[in-house]
């Protein structure tokens, strides 16, 4: 799930960034400013981890966001945060399934 090279091979994945919950930036594929993306999604993930606990969701696994031009999947794996940009946004469910399959296959 944190192997950006594998993730980048999924159809309709425009870019991917690996960071952590503190906003640290570790890796990026096909994106110029991975640092800012890691900072934002680290901030969002931290906030949502707290919200998820309040809602009784258990450990936060994934958040999907969709806009008019692009969608985004933020997956929290342990302390890591993977941010996957999806284009077009309509392909978001397919990418989510591919990510699930990918992580399930690695088991």
């Amino acid at each position: 799930m944190t192997d950006l090279a594998q993730i980048a091979k999924i159809p309709n994945v425009a870019s991917a960034v690996l960071g952590d919950l503190a906003g640290g930036f570790y890796d990026a594929i096909r994106v110029a400013d991975g640092e800012s993306i890691a900072a934002v999604t680290g901030f969002i993930s931290t906030s949502l981890v707290d919200a998820g606990e309040q809602l009784g969701l258990g450990p936060l696994g994934r958040v999907s966001l969709a806009g008019a031009s692009r969608a985004c999947i933020i997956a929290v794996v342990g302390g890591s945060v993977v941010t996957v940009s999806v284009e077009p946004p309509g392909s978001l469910p397919a990418v989510e399934r591919a990510l699930d399959t990918s992580s399930g296959a690695r088991g």
Partner: protein
């Protein structure tokens, strides 16, 4: 032999009706070693006047010209010019009579008062305070009284006490030629060093005044031996008596004052009558606090005070600069102080320093504290914050010593700041400050705080600052918060502060750690963004570079962090990244610049290799892997 020796000594007690100059003698009111004193009427100015007439013998004169000696007294007292010293109107010789015309005090001597039994502690202390003020003025004029005793303290009907009879006094000229060792004075009040044949000094006057105070408090002198020889031995060797043995209700501060002022060794006594006066004021405060009664009138020193305005509340937040408001949604300007909110400091170490300092200031045993820090550490801003906090309950007076003063000393500037008429001398300025602070303490029932900023700890402190700290120690009327660079205590000690470098406890503003910087920056941003504005996010690498560039110095953090926001706002971005932290100036504030045209532009790709190396070094320090090199991966 005297040049002007009268042939016969007339009976000076039978001169009622005699006119000397403008003065008609009306009634004999006293006799002394040097002559007699009449109440006279000044027929020109129509006011009662005391006329002291000289009578002398060769023995009295002790080999000196008695007329010169007599007139010398008048000249000496005339130059003191203090409201608690009996005023001299003139001195003249008419025929065989040499006389001094002086202020007539309607009232009684302290000796007459105490003859009916000990005085109330408040009254005794009030008399003592006024006498100490007079003695300080005399010493300031270079005059040693040498005969301070209850009989020479004249207590007016209006409660004003005046120090009189300088007949035994010596001025600086006489002290220099060696007359100071002659033993004069009254045995009950004479200092041990005088008994031992030593010289009269300001310290021996302090001893005499303390012995007088003891007498007024307890109804008996400290060493009431049956003979002069016994009294002498007691002054020289007996343990210093505790007045609480006779009056148990006296406060400990009163006993401490007596013990110090009656020390056998002059160097162990109060260093000046002014310090004695300050400590006496503290005793008075304790007496008033114990009884809940209003204080006896303080020894007014005729300073013309103007009311001190109440402390200024914290200024309202500064509106956000236009760029930060329009691009990022800031309501007020961030990074302009040490904390965004009234009640909390975002950085825990700052909060701990503030709390520690306030605890020290609230501790009654602490008279002065230091707040130190490296340049740009924010210690001065923190001091202002603490002063503002204290100002809610106490009177706070702040002075920045690093600013221009037009040739005025720190004490003169403070004296002006408290509303006193500008004093020419350091001591007079200091006394005005102490008196004003004492009034504030009484008014608010809490000691006021004087904040002195900008003390240069690289050199010995200004002597006036040291005196102010000593005054705080002895008067207990106020606290001093000293703000300067590291080594403040040593600078004070070098300038002569008693107690060495540790005499003034210090708290130091340490550089902020990385996580503290993060909390501090986020605290400011959250507090100054308008409600419902989207967040502004700080990247991890931006934080690392910010810590590197500022060394945790708060003022530099403020400058760099605000400039990071300006850069981000100009790019319409809400994430502060390593680029912003790298490019933001640490010298000038960009937020108020007229244009953003001159702001640096982000190079592409970011970061260039030389910056990536710096970021890698920071990351290593934070336990993070190096910056990802993504050029070959389509980034």
């Amino acid at each position: 032999m005297p040049a002007s020796r009268p042939s016969d000594t007339p009976d000076l007690t039978r001169l009622v009706g005699l006119k000397l100059g403008n003065y008609r003698l009306e009634r004999l009111i006293g006799r002394g070693r040097m002559g007699v004193v009449y109440l006279a009427n000044d027929e020109a100015l129509l006011r009662p006047t005391a006329i002291k007439l000289l009578s002398w013998t060769a023995a009295d004169a002790q080999g000196q010209d008695p007329v010169r000696w007599f007139l010398g007294e008048a000249r000496m007292v005339a130059r003191i010019n203090h409201p608690r010293v009996v005023q001299i109107y003139g001195a003249a010789r008419q025929g065989d009579h040499c006389y001094i015309a002086m202020e007539y005090v309607v009232g009684r001597s302290a000796e007459a008062l105490v003859a009916n039994g000990r005085l109330t502690p408040e009254l005794a202390t009030d008399i003592f305070l006024q006498a100490a003020a007079a003695l300080h003025a005399a010493h300031g004029s270079g005059i040693i009284h040498r005969d301070v005793k209850p009989a020479n303290l004249l207590v007016g009907a209006d409660g004003v006490t005046k120090l009189g009879d300088f007949g035994m006094a010596l001025g600086s000229a006489e002290l220099a030629v060696g007359n100071a060792h002659l033993r004069v004075g009254t045995p009950y009040y004479t200092a041990p060093e005088i008994w031992a044949g030593g010289k009269a000094t300001a310290s021996s006057d302090i001893y005499s005044l303390a012995a007088t105070y003891f007498h007024l408090l307890t109804g008996r002198p400290p060493y009431p031996g049956p003979s002069v020889a016994a009294v002498e031995q007691e002054h020289l060797r007996a343990p210093i008596p505790d007045p609480r043995g006779i009056v148990p209700t006296l406060p400990a501060s009163c006993a401490a004052l007596i013990a110090r002022a009656l020390a056998k060794e002059p160097r162990e006594r109060h260093e000046s009558a002014l310090v004695l006066l300050w400590e006496g004021r503290r005793v008075m405060q304790d007496l008033v606090a114990a009884t809940g009664a209003p204080a006896a009138p303080a020894p007014h020193l005729e300073h013309a005070f103007t009311p001190v305005p109440p402390p200024e509340p914290r200024p309202p937040p500064t509106p956000a600069p236009e760029l930060l408001r329009s691009a990022l949604g800031f309501a007020t300007r961030p990074f302009v102080d040490v904390a965004p909110a009234d009640d909390a400091l975002a950085a825990p170490s700052l909060a701990a320093t503030r709390t520690g300092l306030l605890d020290l200031l609230l501790d009654e045993t602490t008279f002065a504290v230091g707040l130190t820090g490296a340049p740009e550490s924010g210690h001065a801003a923190l001091a202002r914050r603490i002063a503002a906090d204290l100002g809610r309950e106490r009177h706070v007076l702040a002075l920045d010593l690093s600013t221009e003063a037009a040739g005025r000393t720190p004490l003169q500037r403070l004296s002006r700041a408290v509303g006193a008429v500008e004093e020419s001398s350091e001591e007079a300025s200091l006394d005005a400050i102490v008196e004003r602070m004492g009034e504030e303490r009484k008014r608010r029932r809490r000691p006021p705080v004087i904040v002195l900023e900008g003390i240069d700890a690289r050199q010995p402190a200004d002597p006036g600052v040291v005196r102010l700290v000593a005054a705080a120690r002895w008067s207990r009327s106020f606290n001093v918060l000293l703000v300067g660079g590291p080594g403040l205590g040593a600078a004070l000690a070098q300038a002569g502060l008693e107690g060495g470098p540790g005499a003034v406890p210090e708290r130091t503003v340490a550089p902020l750690g990385r996580e503290e910087i993060a909390a501090y920056v986020r605290g400011w941003i959250d507090a100054t963004l308008a409600p419902r504005s989207p967040p502004v996010v700080l990247s991890r690498d931006a934080l690392l570079l910010l810590a590197l560039r500022t060394d945790g110095a708060l003022e530099r953090i403020n400058c760099v962090a605000e400039n990071m926001l300006v850069l981000a706002a100009a790019e319409r971005r809400r994430t502060l990244s390593s680029w912003h932290a790298w490019a933001a100036s640490d010298e000038e504030r960009w937020a108020t610049a007229a244009t953003t045209a001159a702001l640096p532009r982000r190079p592409e790709p970011w970061p260039p290799p030389e910056v990536a190396d710096v970021i890698d070094a920071c990351r290593r320090g934070a336990g993070m892997p190096p910056w990802p090199r993504i050029a070959g991966r389509g980034g």
